[in-house]
Symmetry: C2
Subunit: 365 residues, 2 copies
């Protein structure tokens, strides 16, 4: 049986600690379930900059392109706050997204029942919450040109970024959202600022056309992105799938994640288009949380988001749906048992470190 | 005594109903307190489009430019969803902001004690909340060029918007934020996406320079805008003044408003630069809520945000600080008495309509 090639980019901060738990899990799956994962590892972010002056090397980029899936930890930290813009830690992640053409970023915001009380929102507002943000990831203001700072003289500079969306980009991301909605509650809400942005006007138009042409069985709503942010805070359960652009997706998915009280728990998948022949798609899986430099190296980081990202990998890259379901159930089970890392701990619970949490999930798997 | 010239643009939806209460209040101040407000009225938004095919006429723009202050209701509604982009209702508001050079948008997010329980957030998270969002209002992606949709042929279009900020724009808005912080808790948090946007890099740099040169007595923090959105939801009381750009300000101020459970209550002020000689500044005052077409004409709209916007007008345009304080106290007092419009009603409270609410506030004033 051909092995499944995973390329691991643990990155900075708590990335390596979280990734270590996934490595144990992969080893256990190979040993006990006869899975055939092969892993290789590379550097991304600040550690890559320290090693060779770039946020990811060309050699590691080539490995990421060749892998069946990339598992990504987190990048950045105060150590690299002053490095030049072009080689800042985030540049590694952005290059991976762009060069691998990972245009579809799936960010589930799920409120684990065991954690509903730890949200800053009222329990009834978030309990049972299960929404999916589908964020466009290779376009918009993140990559549009011109993107520069111009010196105007007289002490004046001009900072410019360009938001650009083409029809085909909006079409393919909304297609992903509609397809996923069909496997869920069949409801898509598209968010933009068509009252201010021309890209928003086009976004709205293309989503509507795509809906009419191919997905008229799915319920579609449009909402202005600012109103959408408000509604996420007011009553998030009104949503099923939200589809939005790169920058609004960045803001809205972080807010949605925070609602759940489980920011240390939430995974994401970034997917490319399926190859017309092999149907394989490039993919990168990444926790929503960042590198959390303040707690790095202390053995207290929550590995659940990273492990849940691997569950998404099983589901989307390898069609191992049963295993993904079981892994997600194992996470819920250890939470039900009262195990908590420090970030999600509360009175009466059993506080554990990163490795104990990983071990407990593997044991339940 | 020269009269104080107010130009009223009630707009669409619930705008006119809310404005009617402010008109009663102005009449009462002229009658009983000997104030000398003179008012004139114009059209903006959908009603202006219906009347003369533009979201605001040149004649009304001239009146707005000449007035001591503009009071603005709300614009838009489904009736005008299909009108051309250039004359959509919002275009009237955007032209007012741009032509009057109202670069500083002040959006307080205050949690009225009487309403703390009606937030979707836990009471302890929002009780006593008092933050001020200072949003840049005449720059960024709202007005940058190119802003267009290009037909690429083959069924492909390209939507483009341009985010542009110059040093002087960032300098003057951060100056406003620092000045206001000095009258509050002396703490400014600046938000941008410097890890992705060049305008964010410049924003960060100029805010830091302005701080160092002129406001080093104020505490300054920088936060990425996505993290800022999260932190607003997690623990909003960590903030005092937030300064951010036009688009992030749009999102973040709406989210901050929703936290308070008082979206129908929140005012805003949009200010220009003080005239070097007269020290007068152009100004527009506007509720944060929109036109709420679903409840328009029913007499149930909450007029408090509009009345509180007039309180900001007294404070910032006319230096009538005592009157502004008294008006804000009158609003708090009617809430303490249990009076509620439908949007903020809860069991045990006395539900009243728009005019009763206005009358009650005027009676307490
Ligand atoms: C690290 C940063 C470049 C990134 C983004 O802005 O996309 C992050 O915030 C995210 O949401 O994945
Ligand atoms: C009506 C619209 C153009 C406006 C904006 O986007 O600025 C509104 O959302 C606001 O926040 O005042």
């Amino acid at each position: 049986m051909a092995s499944k090639n995973l390329f691991l980019l643990a990155g900075d901060g708590i990335g390596p600690e979280a990734m270590a738990e996934v490595k144990k899990l992969i080893a256990a799956m190979n040993d006990k379930l006869g899975s055939s994962f092969a892993t290789d590892e590379g550097l991304v972010g600040g550690c890559a900059y320290d090693a060779h002056g770039a946020a990811i090397s060309d050699a590691d980029m080539a490995k990421a392109m060749a892998a069946d899936a990339v598992l990504f930890g987190a990048v950045g930290g105060p150590k690299w706050d002053a490095v030049p813009y072009e080689v800042r830690p985030e540049a590694g992640l952005l290059r991976l997204r762009k060069d691998m053409e990972l245009f579809a970023n799936l960010r589930p915001a799920i409120c684990y029942p065991a954690l509903a009380a730890s949200s800053s929102l009222k329990q009834e507002v978030v309990e049972g919450l299960d929404i999916l943000i589908v964020r466009e990831l290779t376009g918009g203001v993140y990559f549009g040109e011109p993107k520069q700072i111009i010196d105007l003289g007289n002490g004046q500079k001009r900072g410019i970024d360009t938001q650009v969306y083409d029809t085909f980009e909006i079409e393919r991301i909304s297609g992903v959202a509609f397809e996923l909605a069909r496997t869920r509650k069949n409801h898509v809400t598209s968010m933009e600022k068509r009252n201010v942005m021309k890209s928003g006007v086009l976004w709205n138009e293309v989503v509507s056309q795509t809906h009419k042409a191919r997905y008229s069985d799915v319920k579609l709503d449009h909402m202005l992105a600012d109103a959408g942010g408000m509604q996420l805070v007011r009553w998030p359960k009104q949503f099923d799938v939200i589809v939005t652009d790169n920058l609004f997706g960045d803001m809205l998915s972080d807010i949605a994640a925070m609602l759940t009280g489980s920011i240390g728990m939430l995974p994401s998948a970034s997917l490319g288009a399926p190859d017309p022949k092999s149907k394989k798609r490039k993919a990168l899986y990444e926790p929503v949380h960042g590198s959390a430099p303040d707690i790095a190296g202390k053995g207290i980081a929550n590995p659940i988001a990273m492990i849940a990202s691997f569950a998404m990998c099983l589901r989307y890259s390898f069609g191992m749906v049963a295993e993904a379901d079981r892994l997600e159930a194992a996470i819920a089970a250890v939470l039900d048992d009262g195990l908590r890392t420090k970030d999600i701990s509360s009175p009466g619970m059993t506080e554990v470190g990163t490795t104990e949490m990983g071990d407990a999930i593997i044991a339940k798997f």
